[in-house]
């Protein structure tokens, strides 16, 4: 046994004692492949949220700017457009990584089921195509198109966000609840790709993710302006910049617990092992199951959980009497890593409920004529709400993905069968990926922060200096031609900008 196998075992053991027993039989490439997928998917999914939800948020702000002739709103829409340019670029490339990884990491899945699960990806590709096209038109169309037509260029992006999310979630729903093919003597026959595209489980999974995307984007953008207000920048710019994304986040956060609940409906029949792990049900109770909050699963026993009687059955089974089917009904080799699934699932729910309560409180107090934006504690909470929404989203994905294990296609194909025959050398690729994603994260943060700083200093255009800076001092003009960024109302901003560069040059 080589070192990577030991490492794989150690990592597995941390998540589940059962898994460590099985790890000896796992191919050496499995664990790094899992980590690689988790890293790249977990990273991409956050940017995908912005790709899905940001256009609609920008649209509302831009619409307000045009309808009410509101320069603050127009300015915000324009800045958000530039931020989305950065986010969408790294979102597009990190999504490409996933396309490659489908084949590089899971050739067993793609070779066997590529023609079963592929069609939704084709439609997702169409949606992505349109999104990229209209992104280009919108971003570079400022001041070059009639304003109303220009505004309309955002709408296709909001729509393709829906289509794209649906298509991708279709595939994941299929992995959880496979349909659209038969297996005869080990051969895949009678492939029905349209049944996969319109599989019954997809709509609810889509709803959950789509609403989650609006929570992540809405809270994250609002958080930026909450931080600004905490620093004493209490102008209309910050208020408006907070309220529009916050309104989106509000609707999403209020709806999400219900969407999530309906998604879970029928899980006991669909994926009993996942439900048992979610609920930490080690045995099937005689009567109604309690709701287990917290707790870990060690050597087949639950430790440290807080039980609330009846509630488990009421929520999971919609029944006062029916118990949650426990892990005792699942063969050992089909059990997912229980503790991780359970804790991730409950973290998602806990954070979701917290965010729901916060937005409900805000609007309730507003109705009672109290403005929570004056409250520093609330602003502090809002400042971390974006991160919380991201954690909840990641936790949800960990819960559903880890909870599906050991299957890659539930009940049909094990993850071990899908993994490539690569050796533990995959760990090296994984290490390089950590560096790459770390670098991209760092680059994005540096660039976005510097954009915000320059905007605060009054710069409307953000020229990138391709020439030595001294030239700016000589001529007080940017070296960089950024005419493609100027809008028709940019006159005043231009003056501010050149004043800004003069200052910077001094």
């Amino acid at each position: 046994m080589d070192a990577t196998q030991l490492l794989a075992q150690a990592t597995d053991a941390a998540t589940s004692p059962l898994a460590s027993v099985l790890a000896a039989a796992d191919p050496a490439g499995l664990m790094p492949a899992r980590q690689q997928m988790a890293l790249s998917l977990g990273w991409h999914i956050l940017l995908a949220c912005f790709g899905v939800a940001f256009p609609a948020i920008i649209f509302v702000m831009h619409l307000r700017g045009i309808r009410k002739k509101d320069p603050v709103a127009l300015d915000l829409a324009k800045r958000w457009g530039k931020v989305s340019a950065v986010l969408f670029a790294i979102g597009a490339v990190s999504g490409t990584v996933l396309s490659f990884e489908m084949g590089l990491l899971w050739p067993g899945l793609m070779g066997t089921y590529g023609d079963v699960l592929g069609l939704p990806f084709a439609f997702e590709g169409l949606a992505f195509f349109l999104e990229a096209i209209f992104l280009g038109i919108y971003l570079y169309g400022w001041g070059k198109m009639p304003p109303k037509l220009h505004l309309l260029m955002v709408l296709p992006m909001a729509i393709t966000g829906v289509v794209g999310t649906y298509c991708v979630l279709t595939v994941n729903a299929w992995m959880n609840s496979p349909v659209g093919f038969n297996v005869v003597d080990g051969e895949i026959v009678d492939v029905r790709p349209w049944a996969v595209l319109f599989n019954p489980h997809a709509l609810m999974q889509f709803g959950h993710m789509w609403v989650g995307a609006y929570m992540v984007a809405g809270f994250s953008i609002a958080a930026v302006y909450a931080v600004g207000m905490l620093k004493g920048r209490r102008d209309r710019h910050h208020r408006l910049g907070f309220m529009v994304p916050f309104a989106f986040a509000t609707i999403a956060a209020l709806a999400q617990p219900f969407v999530g609940h309906f998604l879970g409906d029928g899980l006991a029949e669909r994926q009993p092992s996942k439900l048992a792990a979610f609920e930490l049900a080690e045995t099937t109770d005689e009567g109604p199951s309690p709701l287990r909050i917290g707790g870990v699963y060690i050597d087949g026993e639950v430790k440290g959980a807080l039980d609330i009687p009846y509630l488990g059955s009421i929520i999971a089974m919609s029944s006062f009497t029916e118990p949650v089917p426990g892990l005792d009904q699942i063969p050992d080799e089909d059990e997912p890593p229980v503790t991780m699934t359970h804790l991730a699932f409950q973290s998602m729910i806990g954070i979701g409920l917290l965010l729901m309560a916060a937005v409900a409180l805000f609007w309730f107090l507003r109705w009672r004529k109290y403005d929570l934006l004056k409250n520093r504690l609330f602003l502090r909470f809002m400042a971390v709400s974006g991160v919380l929404a991201m954690v909840a989203l990641e936790a949800g994905w960990i819960a559903t993905e880890v909870g599906r294990q050991p299957w890659i296609v539930y009940g049909v194909m094990r993850t071990t069968e899908a993994a490539a025959d690569h050796s533990g050398a995959l760990w090296g690729v994984y290490g390089a990926s950590v560096l790459l994603y770390g670098g991209m994260t760092l680059g994005a943060i540096v660039v976005l922060r510097s954009m915000a700083r320059r905007w605060r200093e009054g710069a409307a255009d953000l020229p990138s200096p391709y020439g030595p800076r001294s030239r700016i001092a000589d001529q007080a003009v940017e070296v960089r031609d950024c005419a493609d960024e100027k809008d028709s109302t940019g006159q005043k901003a231009d003056e501010q900008d050149s004043a800004g560069s003069k200052e910077a040059a001094k």
């Binding site: 990584v97 084949g103 349209w194 070296v479």
Partner: protein, 348 residues
């Protein structure tokens, strides 16, 4: 010949062509960016590159996704075979693609010169590496180095004459396309000196690339006999068309007709790619798996054609609109107008 499988394969390969031409021109811009010189000397060219590929690179990039999806859905086993064999160049190409896209976006909004330099170098270098490794993948497929069952040798499958030549040709065609496009853009923007500089570059790159394409034919005869046979028979007219396009482009560039030169350059590159496709027909994996053998389920193939049909109706007009806008006088006027006042433009 016009079977369902063939139609899907043709649609897939059309995606390869579009990616080679449109995505290729974006990658090629990176080559010119890399060789543009120091920050002062290179400023006008880098600005032009930003302006030219900024609005379109993401849309052009989607052709790659289209190709991958068509491949794994239409011909899943050959996709898995290629992925388990060619993972080294695939990962390297992927790293290039990721770094190119990210650092291009970062550079556009960098605040200081050193940041712009850092992101610029990463952007430019990765723009050269990505097409090289993508080319080696094409070469490996075309020379029959991917076994049907997958898990071929991770090194000898692409570190061989045909794949390496394909990589070099890929870098060259990208730079050639980008050169002619940028020359036309600069000329249209009234940047005479920049256009003159780009014209010389494009001529040099064009001659070198053409020479490499024909030099590649020497090892291909022994290294990839099946492809060679196809190139010398069925694909011969297409290769001749490519040569004509290339020579035509050089003539047009020489005589300063930059607008039409773009068209002939596209013909040259598209024909060289088409020559590869026609040359290796009917194989998906040369000498291993044919289009018919590799095809996925019928219903899925039909579904893919529906998707392609919808794309033709919805995506094609949108894409045409994007290109129309980026080429329209209104979108270029602004750049031109303020460019004239800028010392950065008048410097060289």
């Amino acid at each position: 010949m016009m079977t369902l499988e063939f139609a899907v394969a043709a649609a897939l390969f059309a995606g390869v062509l579009f990616y080679a031409v449109l995505g290729g021109a974006d990658f090629g811009s990176g080559f010119h960016d890399l060789t543009a010189g120091g920050s002062r000397r290179g400023a006008p060219l880098r600005t032009l590159i930003d302006h030219s590929i900024g609005p379109v690179w993401e849309a052009n990039h989607v052709w790659l996704i289209y190709v991958l999806v068509m491949w794994w859905t239409g011909f899943p086993e050959s996709f898995a075979a290629a992925m388990t064999t060619l993972y080294v160049p695939l990962v390297l190409a992927l790293v290039g693609i990721v770094l190119r896209g990210a650092s291009f976006a970062f550079r556009k909004y960098s605040e200081t010169l050193w940041q712009a330099r850092l992101f610029g170098i990463v952007f430019a270098t990765s723009s050269v590496l990505a097409p090289f490794f993508l080319g080696t993948i094409a070469g490996a497929l075309a020379s029959g180095r991917v076994p049907a069952g997958g898990n071929g040798d991770p090194w000898s499958s692409w570190l061989a004459p045909t794949p390496l030549f394909a990589g070099a040709i890929s870098v060259g065609t990208c730079a050639f396309l980008a050169g002619t496009f940028l020359t036309a853009d600069a000329a249209r923007g009234g940047q005479v000196a920049l256009a003159a500089r780009l014209r010389v570059r494009s001529l040099v790159v064009g001659v070198v690339t053409g020479a490499v394409v024909f030099a590649a034919l020497i090892p291909i005869e022994h290294d990839a006999p099946t492809l060679w046979e196809g190139l010398m028979s069925r694909a011969a007219p297409v290769m001749a068309l490519s040569a004509l396009g290339g020579i035509g482009t050089l003539v047009l560039l020489w005589t300063g007709r930059f607008g039409p030169a773009r068209l002939t350059a596209v013909v040259a590159v598209a024909a060289v790619m088409a020559g590869w496709g026609v040359g290796q027909y009917p194989w998906v994996l040369v000498d291993q798996v044919t289009i018919t053998e590799g095809a996925g389920a019928r219903a899925t193939m039909q579904g893919l054609l529906v998707a392609v049909g919808i794309a033709a109706v919805i995506v094609a007009p949108a894409l045409a609109y994007l290109f129309y806008l980026t080429q329209s006088p209104r979108w270029n006027q602004a750049a031109q107008g303020s460019g004239a006042e800028q010392p950065g433009r008048a410097m060289y």
